[in-house]
Symmetry: C5
Subunit: 351 residues, 5 copies
């Protein structure tokens, strides 16, 4: 969220709807499903006002709004469903963290969709869900989602979605999102393992930027998912006519999955910290090995150079210089010093 | 808070008002708004006693006190509104942490305004808010604040502020402060990203002082905002006729925003710790690379110097010296050793 | 769990059973024990439908399903015992974390069996236990388990298992698994001690990969066992006719053991962190010692080489060169410098 | 507390009074204040038995015992005020941590006075306070305290102390001690800032011992103050006729101040950890810079020495040696190599 | 606990008594005290069955079992006092962590005695205490304990032990053990201070193994004492006719002492971590100082050697060589370079 957007928000009274995502205004596309056990109808409209079908309590209506940039459309929806003024502010505020607000006539849930774009970059999409007596409003930033399985199940009347109420639809939608988290963390896991593999096989390189990058991705995932634990926990305990008892078993299952994702992410944090440590230790270690060998070479040759210097001196009487084969004796001494040092250092495990 | 001020405070009985901010005594400026749905009046006075307008329960009165250095004025206000003696002590104590105290007739809330001054230094301003049945007392250290939006909304009767009570005004004021926190953390975020960028592009420098500086700023922000979570949480749960049920929904929203700020600050702490690590690793790494190259150069030339020393010796019989073109052969050997070492080190990935 | 399996799971409605373990489909083997204080019968079948014996409440029936790859068989069992649809999804989902779900007619418990395979690799086996009024369903991924002691006790009517109900059998099964954890952590303890020993005796090597390996194993154990604390704690507090009061004392004992395992694992984490530190310090220290000695040698010989160079100069008048025995004096000076330096460095504790 | 003292304590039954402070037995000095709104009397005695004035409920009696080494005197006091046997054991046990014990007829509070002695060393003084219906017993190890302000207020009837009961006196005494903590933490803050300043201005020194020293002081402060949070929290919630409702507002204020001290101490811990990090990084960095420059010098001169060695060789035919001005060409080459290397290293940012 | 013992345990039904301490079977020695306010009797037997004295509720009976290796004797005791089968399993399981189990007729408490053996090694002894209506069973692994003070007090009727019930005896026994912890932590404190002293005075050595050793000792103490907090806390809150109201004041005192021990141990952990840091920093620092000095020496002499090499060259025309006193000028230059470098490095604070 840029500072300009914050300042715009601040200049308005609370409840005023300001879209905080990317500026480019796109058309809002609204997919509407209307179904019960025996009946199903599907329509796509550009304005909710143009959807005039019956939305009474005999059928479940799923209104899926794609695109949040048209704040007027959001305000219209808010009025149509008689939502609390603060709700739409949060729907349009893409940096709103996951939360659950209970209102007398509806539940308002915010959560985050995570996906890797074509460049492998991790993106976060802001999703709002409003559960009413016989409808579910789902508002998301972009087209394209993970709900096609649910759409098929509604169309083909598979599973129990057609025979149950709006609360089960809410569960199914959240379940689809949370299931998708597993894909995300699997991808993360692959990246971590791949990096770990590379650190093991080529330990002398510096991977600290890559590790930091991965760490930031884990933090991003953690930040999107962590508050969801509280949301789902609250959802499980909500004492509200909107959620039937038989649906609560499913919500408990959601909680379970959420915890599992969170725990996995925590393990990744640990693993990444371990990689960072190992990276530092490896680099330092390899570096040290190199420096040691180099220093040993220098250390052996410096005294030898000194000795060569000795016999290069111009003293008038250096007796060794007159010795027959003195030169060869000198070489012998050099070889002896060289090999002796090597053996000595090997024995001391310095080499 | 200096030790002198503490000692002055200690020499007085509890409840005695001692201003702990900067010593220079400035005039107290009091802005008063008096409004209801149909009526609004605005006045600026130097002493509250000179404000004699009706402050009955039919209108909401917002008394905004700028400047806390005149402790006598504060004591007068305290008497006029019949506040508990400890309240004004905390109003004047600028190092008081954020808190909420419930009294039978009023709520007393302390929080902190954060702003960057013209030098980019982060400043903390101590703000006290007292909510009574039909009035809000807001006391702040300096002129200039983030409430101009609210003043405009009162004047122009925008939003719901004119049609609601003092409790909504309290919410609106706190909301403005918390919204401003987002500006502060965005600025922090920019600084962190800018530093991160510089660490990535120029990894060989030592950024530890800058990182430590940033860390201190994050700690300062954290310290001002963290206790607010408890304050707003308490405010949400307060069972008091002063806060109407319909305002509590808005307070819940405040809580939400507070949590979001806190979480972001926590992520910054993490990120800064990561930068510190990366900084150390980078410096060590780059340093090591340099040292390695230098050492390799020395290691290659030391044996060569030894060999040159050999043929500088004055032994009577050094056969190589008489060899035709011996000098060129020697150079050949040197070049061979040099290139061979380079190749050897390259292969071992030491270069 | 691979991404393909996750995607398969996501394409189905919740409650659909997808086996997430290794793909190879094996026969399901079902061992059935039927017993009471005076009677015991044991049978092995391939399909539960072929087990037609009386399963009324007069006897306790223990149905032990080995192999989860045949999802049809699982679905059949689910229908026979009238289990909630989500139960079988979790039974087949081998990455499900330990949990306890309470249903009106049965308790559903997931936990993990840990064992070291023949290569010393730590494996995790997914175990599900369903406790009904007079039966226990135990479903595990592979043949072979730690329950042979219980089987013998049932056959030979040792201990109190034959004279108590299904709830005691559940306790006995869980107790066997938790007791086995002690073996696992003893093995871990041995590995840690062995590595510690090696670090003490040969401190100059780099053990960071081995330590990281051990750390991952500890994390794996921790991850399997940690959620069990909550499970057993919930089990102790469950208010359900399925668990008799006299069995609850035993459950409390389970809780105790679980805590003990967890605490031990936490100590291991600490110990491993300590080993990592010690490893780094040792390597750095030893390296430093080596470098210091080498540098001292070089430092002594470089000035000596300079002096030898001095007397190798070709100045026309270098008086020392003409001195009788000058060469020997020179050597004397060299020996003096050498020994003096050694003594000096020893005194400064640099050697 | 030395082991001898512990062993002496252990050889006695619980409730036996053993003084655990410094061994030198000093006279016990007892200051007694007896006052109500209209009356005040002050006396100093050596034994409480010699104080025979009226101690009925019409006046508040403040008995201030200086010196705990005379255990007999403590036992006498204990009997006179009918205290529980364990109370006096804790009064005399100077290593007792802060706590609040509720007895039917009195509250027993232990806390710590912190002060810097003339050498700047931080000392901890053990203070016990017993609140009865109309008396306050305050027992401290040494003469000299922070209560002179309160004494003056009693004498001169300033503030509300003379017009309120023993519970307010208790509050005033605790408030004085906690206010004094602010002096202590300000002193700590000064030390930390002074050290930080020195680290910034002279980053090449090793400050680790000073930092460790400061850290120990912070730990000492933390240890004395941390348990006070629980004490004051308990005091706020105590449901006891000894503390009047109107005094509880003041106790809440105490709690506030305690939290503020604790939070500040926590920030200091953080800051000190940061200093430690910065210290290490700075030292390593500066060291590295030095080593780099030195190594670069050596690295430039070693090849040059080699070349000089070349032309010091005694080969019969070294053509360069005969070249006219060869010597000057050689010097030219040397200067070229030297300057070239410097430029090269500068460009690579190694210098 | 070895793996063999675990496997033996697993092969038995829960409740089966397996001794997990050292294998050597020793005689069990049972000391029995029987007393009330007016009467005391003391006897030592080898089997409890041979103790046939009256154990009715008129007297308190303290049965002190030394040695747990004879599991048959334990089983006999269990039957005599009608204990729950799981109790004796925990009594004999020396690796059982401290805990409190409440049974209708008795309380079962496990805790650990810590003592340093003659070699200064820290040992842990497993102690079980069972409190019945009028008896205390105390079972410990070895002879010799810290209860002699209590025995004397019973014999000589000192303190309140003879006039109170079994619950006070239980308190006195636990108090003796917890008081002994203070000895242990004082010993630890001495060791830490001694090591700290050595690190300060001789900072160049590597203390990491000693620090790690100390850390393990602190972990061992922590592990034995930490769970005791929960035990004593539970004991304080136990709602059971076995513990009289007047004894609960003493239990609160126990809790206090336990917390104090735990807090001290936590501070030690912190201190040891600080020592580890200081150790690393010191070593690195000292090492760096040495390396710097050595490198400076080398760096000064290498250019000088180069210059000496220059004048050792055999160019035909080196004008300086013919200069009168050229040799002395050369030496002058050398001294100038040497002293100039020293001054330069000193000024840059490199020396």
């Amino acid at each position: 969220m840029s500072k300009d957007v914050i300042k715009e928000q601040m200049s308005h009274a609370p409840g005023h709807v300001v879209y905080t995502g990317s500026k480019e205004i796109k058309d809002v596309l609204i997919d509407v499903f209307d179904y019960n056990a025996t009946f199903v109808e599907e329509e796509t409209v550009h304005e909710l006002s143009s959807y005039t079908k019956d939305t009474d309590e005999k059928t479940v209506t799923w209104v899926n709004v794609n695109g949040l940039s048209d704040t007027q459309a959001l305000t219209d929806i808010s009025h149509k469903y008689d939502l609390h003024p603060l709700v739409m502010e949060d729907v349009a505020n893409t940096s709103q963290r996951p939360k659950l607000d209970e209102y007398p006539d509806h539940l308002f849930i915010v959560f985050k969709m995570l996906y890797h774009d074509t460049d492998g970059k991790l993106n976060t999409e802001h999703i709002s869900l409003i559960l009413g007596k016989s409808y579910v409003l789902l508002m998301q930033e972009y087209d394209g989602d993970v709900f096609d399985g649910i759409r098929d199940r509604i169309r083909l009347s598979k599973g129990r979605v057609r025979t149950t109420g709006a609360d089960y639809l809410m569960y199914a939608l959240m379940d689809a999102v949370i299931d998708h988290y597993f894909i995300i963390i699997e991808t993360l896991s692959d990246k971590i393992e791949e990096l770990e593999e590379r650190i093991y096989t080529n330990p002398s390189e510096n991977y600290s930027q890559e590790i930091q990058q991965l760490k930031k991705e884990v933090i991003q995932v953690r930040r999107s998912i962590f508050p969801l634990r509280e949301v789902v926990n609250k959802l499980e305990k909500v004492d509200n006519h909107l959620i039937l008892k038989k649906t609560q078993v499913f919500v408990r299952d959601l909680y379970d999955h959420t915890i599992q994702v969170i725990e996995t992410v925590e393990v990744y944090r640990d693993t990444i910290a371990g990689l960072m440590d190992m990276n530092s230790t490896n680099i330092a270690n390899r570096m040290n090995e190199v420096m040691k060998v180099l220093t040993i070479i220098a250390t052996i040759f410096i005294p030898m150079t000194f000795l060569a210097g000795i016999y290069g001196m111009n003293f008038e009487h250096i007796p060794e210089l007159q010795i027959q084969n003195g030169y060869y004796y000198f070489w012998g001494a050099m070889v002896f010093i060289f090999i002796g040092s090597i053996i000595y250092f090997k024995r001391k495990k310095w080499l």
